[in-house]
């Protein structure tokens, strides 16, 4: 960032920690940005004329006589149509060798949408993956994370969903992305010929962790521009939010804040909610849908990060390896899309809700049967049939490599019911059974 004439330059830093530095200055606004020897920093605390700055790239090598210049504004981004197809770093600077973007400068992390001006999300997002479309249908304006262990192919599934989702713009916010994953995204978008509708803000593992804190705000500010001003359907991909939260805890720790559960800052819920709540259906047709990734450690969802996320997002998608079919499936028990009720049976066939629930119920019975088997008990006839059903259900519907339309998914469900069960065993409303039960 260039300094302009008549800007005051401070050169007396009074305190330096790993992420912050303090100095005496006056007339400084809260959350204002500054540069410290050229590194971007933001005001996080003002007490009298003591100003504390958080330096995004860390304080290594910062001397007490570093040059500090205040910019008189909050972090901002230039937005415009030119953003499309470009790759940026956490500060919004191009990393693809292209020119800087000219456009309207807007502050990132802007105000929330007035809840009474929001529209109820109502457009189904078909992905072709039955574990999503059938059991956990996505809707525009929704926010939903993948909960996955680090070894699971969440980025692949997310990229697949993004490309099939028919969005006008896809915005990728990569936090602590490995360089390999960054190149993966770049390639898959390129191969799909979709680069022109993709905008990426990337912080890789090579970059300082605190810089990540800017990435989601950059991505969402861009999303708001396209969704609100251009009335486009925007899909925002945020991966990995666990690394974002880790960066938050680093900063709060450096600021001597009292940690709450799992060493996370007490404000974790509000911090995450501020981002996820940017998902919205605008009255004029534009929308922001957020699909995020929260990596778990050993599937533990009681950790503060997935726990707070689950309370904020509208459901979660769980990936799990099903050893019976040797494929990754979308776990029907722990996954949930809270907004599916708005579309299933309304924009999809009338039997959708009941088929979905009946199949999951039988799948639960199969899980019980499996436990019985593992404990060395004999299975009864019903148990045997649920196990057969479960295998078919996993393979033909839950596996992430399924790609069919929703009517086909429902027909597959009925076919599996018919193959293994009597009508009374599935517990579906009589009218629907009469209409859809497969004819022998």
């Amino acid at each position: 960032m260039e300094t302009t004439a008549f800007q005051k330059i401070y050169t007396k830093i009074t305190q330096i920690t790993k992420a912050t530095c303090s100095l005496k200055a006056s007339g400084i606004g809260y959350e204002e940005i500054a540069t410290v020897n050229g590194r971007l920093a933001q005001v996080v605390k003002i007490q009298g004329d003591d100003v504390t700055l958080q330096i995004f790239s860390g304080t290594e090598g910062i001397p007490t006589n570093a040059e500090v210049v205040f910019m008189g504004k909050a972090p901002s981004l230039k937005v415009g149509e030119e953003l499309a197809g470009r790759f940026f770093n956490a500060y919004g600077e191009p990393i693809d060798g292209g020119p800087a973007v000219e456009g309207k400068e807007v502050e990132i992390g802007g105000p929330s949408v007035n809840p009474v001006r929001r529209k109820q999300p109502s457009d189904l997002i078909p992905t072709g993956i039955a574990g999503i479309d059938l059991n956990n249908t996505l809707v525009t304006g929704q926010k939903i994370p993948f909960f996955a262990d680090p070894d699971q192919p969440f980025n692949q599934v997310m990229a697949e969903v993004a490309l099939r989702a028919k969005a006008d713009k896809i915005i990728l916010g990569g936090m602590g992305l490995s360089n390999d994953d960054y190149l993966f995204f770049k390639n898959i978008f390129d191969n799909a010929g979709a680069l022109d509708r993709i905008i990426s803000f990337i912080n890789t593992t090579e970059d300082p962790p605190v810089e990540r804190l800017l990435v989601p705000d950059m991505a969402l500010t861009t999303a708001e521009y396209f969704a609100h001003e251009k009335n486009e359907k925007v899909l925002v991909l945020l991966t990995d939010m666990t690394l974002y939260a880790d960066a938050l805890s680093i900063v709060s720790n450096r600021m001597d804040q009292i940690p709450s559960k799992d060493s996370m800052p007490g404000s974790l819920y509000s911090d995450l909610a501020k981002l996820y709540e940017k998902a919205v259906q605008f009255p004029d047709g534009g929308s922001i849908t957020i699909i995020a990734v929260t990596t778990l450690s050993g599937g533990d969802i009681t950790h503060a990060i997935p726990d707070n996320t689950g309370y904020i997002t509208e459901g979660q998608l769980f990936l799990r390896r099903d050893t019976d079919i040797s494929k990754v499936i979308i776990d029907p028990f722990r996954s949930l899309s809270r907004l599916k009720q708005l579309v299933i049976g309304k924009q999809t066939r009338e039997d959708h809700p009941q088929v979905m629930n009946a199949a999951i119920r039988i799948f639960a019975d199969a899980a019980n049967a499996k436990t019985k088997l593992e404990n060395g008990f004999d299975l009864n006839d019903y148990d045997e049939r649920t196990l057969k059903f479960a295998k078919g259900y996993s393979n033909d519907l839950l596996a992430i490599d399924v790609n069919v339309d929703i009517d086909t998914m429902l027909d597959t469900g009925w076919r599996l019911f018919g193959e293994y069960f009597e009508k009374a065993e599935v517990g579906i409303k009589d009218e629907l059974v009469e209409k859809y039960w497969p004819k022998k």
């Binding site: 606004g29 809260y30 502050e107 929330s112 929001r118 529209k119 009255p283 639960a364 517990g427």
Partner: protein, 592 residues
């Protein structure tokens, strides 16, 4: 002269102000940023320094900015026009705000001061009155809205005059009362009240003695919520807290519902905004929105206003209770409010209690729950010595961290609330909704002799005994299922299978309920009694089975028919057909 001050420190939304005069705890002040005033509340005072929590983003705020203190606490404005409104946590009317995005410092009037109300006097000159006495009424939509002697008036007053029947605006004087010293005081239709102070303008607060019908079977039948009672719903995410609250808000037998969306998802409030104006209130035939007021401070709105939102909701509830109405107040979720307290306590560098929550959290929560209740008002019924009555029934949700019920907010709330509806992850995972755990949950009200009396009188003599039995049966079913899992299907006597499956019938028919089915979503007490009798009849039947393998399909069949019955209109031909079918099925297997 009002106290003024200057900003000397800023840490997120904690702003330290040096004041030039007296400042009181919880006083409201405005920080005069160029072009925009930020509202803040004093939460700590040290010497000349007032620590204030700002209800807005402090971005761009500078040291040295002027501050004006208002010499009053955070207040709500009470008067006709609150019903059916959508407010934020500080009672700003959200519909009056311009633009799609919320603007900082955009404060809008809660009442429409130009609206004209048709006033009918109720008191006359010479009447002895006190705070909360009814001077007259206006029709707010369909609801008779009482115009009362302001709650701030202490002691006894005599009515000097009340205006004649006619049309008036909220700020017009509608009466004059004289205090004991002979001073005349004018009364308008509008008054203000500080949200953190309970409105105590009532005579007496007895123990609750009636049931609030919610239409949710697992609550009404097993663990009923009393009118004027308190309850809370803790549960991990995805267990169905919000769906349950929405179901209750749609069906509960109350005159007015106040929904406080406290730090939760905006889309959930949007669902209420969208659906309530369309949905019919089954009790009155009017639209649900006509009996609802929404206080909405979603999770992305400023944290400090989140704390205020639950108090704003409660104060409005107290105002309407004083009119003799039956109010249901819902708060989703009280954990977010506790987290807001934690964030501020943390910024003030207070020594933390468990999980970094403030030490006084249990006290704050129980004080809040104590504001609910059934009350006898100061106002007497017309031509009678009997007092009028009103009630606030409060149902809050708690979002325990990690789904662990041993965390501070759940534990503190458990001490304060009388009904406990624990949502169970396993039930939710197997889609047994509502996922209220029938064994862990309780309603203390069932033990109240006055409530037992009421249930015996209004439902049936054997109701309370039957409910106790059902709870035992469910527990026995659970034990049987554990035994079967340990010993294997053929390792236990057939009786165990029967006990398990009979409990499953209770579970599927009574406990589980489809919140998205037009008929099943709400069940009247008459129907609940009828269904409980049917299910108990099955339970008390001696069946004969030759092997355990016959038990499972037989009961699946029974459950299936009962479910169809739940989907059918009560006492319709279809309903009766299913009933017959069940009888036939029972007779097939009955031991003779």
């Amino acid at each position: 002269m009002a106290t003024k001050g200057k900003v000397v420190g800023i840490i997120a939304n904690l702003v330290i102000v040096e004041a030039d005069g007296p400042v009181s705890q919880n006083e409201i002040c405005f920080i005069k940023m160029p072009g925009v005033d930020l509202m803040a509340e004093v939460i700590k005072i040290i010497g000349k320094k007032a620590y204030t929590q700002v209800f807005e983003s402090t971005r761009g705020l500078k040291v040295g900015t002027n501050v004006e203190f208002m010499s009053h606490m955070l207040e709500v404005t009470l008067g006709p026009g609150i019903l059916s409104r959508n407010y934020d946590g500080l009672q700003n009317d959200l519909d009056k705000m311009d633009g799609v995005f919320l603007k900082r410092g955009d404060y809008t009037a809660p009442l429409n001061e130009d609206a004209e109300w048709e006033f009918t006097p109720m008191a006359q000159a010479g009447d002895k009155v006190e705070a909360g006495s009814w001077l007259g009424e206006v029709l707010e939509g369909w609801m008779p809205h009482k115009i009362m002697v302001p709650f701030k008036f202490e002691g006894n007053y005599t009515v000097k005059s009340v205006v004649a029947k006619g049309t008036y605006k909220t700020k017009d004087v509608i009466g004059v009362v004289t205090d004991e010293k002979g001073n005349d005081i004018e009364v308008t239709m509008m008054q203000k009240w500080p949200v953190k102070v309970p409105i105590k303008a009532y005579r007496d607060k007895p123990r609750p003695f009636k049931i609030m019908e919610t239409g949710v079977r697992t609550m009404d039948t097993l663990n009923p919520l009393a009118e004027g009672g308190t309850g809370f719903v803790p549960g991990p995410f995805g267990a169905g807290k919000t769906v349950l609250q929405h179901a209750v808000s749609q069906q509960a037998d109350a005159d007015m519902i106040i929904v406080t969306a406290c730090g939760e998802r905006a889309n959930e409030v949007v669902e209420i905004f969208t659906e309530f104006p369309e949905l019919d209130d089954p009790r009155t035939g009017r639209k649900l929105m006509e009996r609802t007021t929404i206080i909405c401070n979603t999770s992305n709105m400023p944290v400090a206003a989140r704390e205020a939102s639950v108090y704003t909701g409660m104060t409005i509830a107290e105002y309407y209770r004083a009119m003799g109405l039956k109010i249901l107040l819902l708060a989703d979720s009280t954990s977010r409010w506790a987290q807001a307290l934690r964030e501020m306590s943390n910024r003030m560098e207070e020594l933390p209690g468990p999980d970094a929550f403030p030490m006084d959290l249990p006290a704050i929560i129980s004080n809040f729950y104590a504001r609910a209740g059934f009350v006898y008002l100061n106002q007497l019924k017309k031509d009678s010595k009997e007092p009028e009555s009103g009630s606030i029934t409060f149902l809050g949700t708690v979002s325990p961290a990690g789904g662990n019920l041993k965390e501070p907010v759940t534990e503190s709330t458990k001490k304060a609330a009388r009904c406990f509806y624990a949502l169970n992850q396993d039930r939710a995972d197997s889609k047994r909704y509502p996922a209220i755990d029938p064994i862990d949950s309780y309603s203390k009200y069932l033990e109240y002799p006055e409530i037992q009396e009421y249930l015996k009188k209004t439902i049936s003599e054997d109701w309370v005994d039957n409910v106790t039995k059902v709870k035992d049966y469910l527990l026995r079913g659970k034990e049987a299922s554990e035994q079967i899992n340990i010993l294997g299907d053929d390792g236990v006597p057939i009786d165990y299978h029967l006990r398990y499956w009979k409990a499953e019938v209770i579970d599927f028919v009574i406990l589980q309920q489809d919140a998205f089915d037009d008929i099943d979503k709400s069940t009247s007490f008459a129907r609940q009694k009828f269904m409980l009798d049917q299910v108990l009849a099955v339970y008390n039947t001696e069946f004969k089975f030759d092997s355990f393998e016959e038990v499972n399909p037989y009961f699946k069949g029974i459950i299936n028919t009962f479910k169809q019955m739940n989907y059918a209109e009560y006492e319709s031909d279809k309903f009766k057909e299913y009933l017959k079918e069940i009888e036939t099925k029972i007779n097939e297997r009955k031991a003779v």
